[in-house]
């Protein structure tokens, strides 16, 4: 089963609004990453937050991590039509040779 689950599954907003996506996971992690996927393409890495960090910014992206609740959120501010894509969280679990596993994804539609 997938390590992470995102919610909502789908989100539709107007251009200029903020979009917030949440990710919950099950085990202890080294880091959590957010990726973006445009339709039919490979995934592109957006931001990585380590387990000892609580918040991280990159341009219009803001990521928070709460290890006590095993959850993370991705906020996209001032959304643009070009932000329309699916967004996935991925966790890198602790403990030796663990593998990065992906959540179920949130489909974001930004309406011009």
């Amino acid at each position: 089963s997938q390590q992470g689950e995102e919610d909502p599954q789908a989100l539709s907003i107007q251009e200029g609004e903020n979009a917030t996506m949440n990710c919950s996971y099950k085990t202890s992690i080294n880091n959590l990453q957010w990726y973006r996927q445009n339709s039919g393409r490979g995934l592109v890495h957006l931001i990585l937050i380590r387990s000892n960090e609580r918040e991280k910014h990159s341009g219009r992206l803001r990521v928070t991590l709460d290890t006590s609740k095993k959850s993370s959120s991705l906020l996209i501010t001032a959304s643009r039509a070009a932000d329309t894509a699916s967004y996935f969280c991925a966790t890198d679990p602790t403990g030796g040779y663990q593998k990065v596993t992906f959540g179920t994804g949130t489909k974001l539609q930004v309406i011009p």
């Binding site: 089963s1 490979g42 592109v44 990585l48 699916s86 593998k99 596993t101």
Partner: protein, 113 residues
């Protein structure tokens, strides 16, 4: 831009054929992964490797096999393709020791008719 390449980009093939999906990376990454993804759906890990001669099955059972003879190359093979194998296959790699980001190829969209 990520230095990880998948070929072919699209493949339509008949039932029963043997196929190999290629994946190569030039970043010297130890970890490599194969994911299967149906359109608009989540990614399922089907194979991964932590280095040369290391391969493991992922969370989703798959009839495909992989090999890792060279660090940069991680091909996936289906001995006898079936319509149920129709999907998108994504290859990724990451630096195994720093828990860093994964880099993805553009994917191979496979259709078995």
């Amino acid at each position: 831009e990520a230095d990880i390449y998948q070929t072919p980009r699209y493949l339509v093939i008949g039932t029963g054929k043997k196929i190999t999906l290629e994946c190569s990376q030039t970043m010297g990454h130890d970890k490599m992964y194969w994911y299967q993804q149906d359109p608009g759906m989540e990614l399922h890990l089907i194979h991964y490797s932590y280095g040369v001669n290391s391969t493991e099955k992922g969370d989703l059972s798959s009839e495909s096999t992989v090999s890792r003879i060279r660090t940069e190359h991680f091909p996936l093979t289906l001995e006898s393709a079936r319509p149920s194998h129709t999907s998108q296959y994504l290859c990724a790699s990451s630096d195994g020791f720093r828990g860093s980001e994964a880099f993805f190829g553009q994917g191979t969209r496979l259709t078995v008719v």
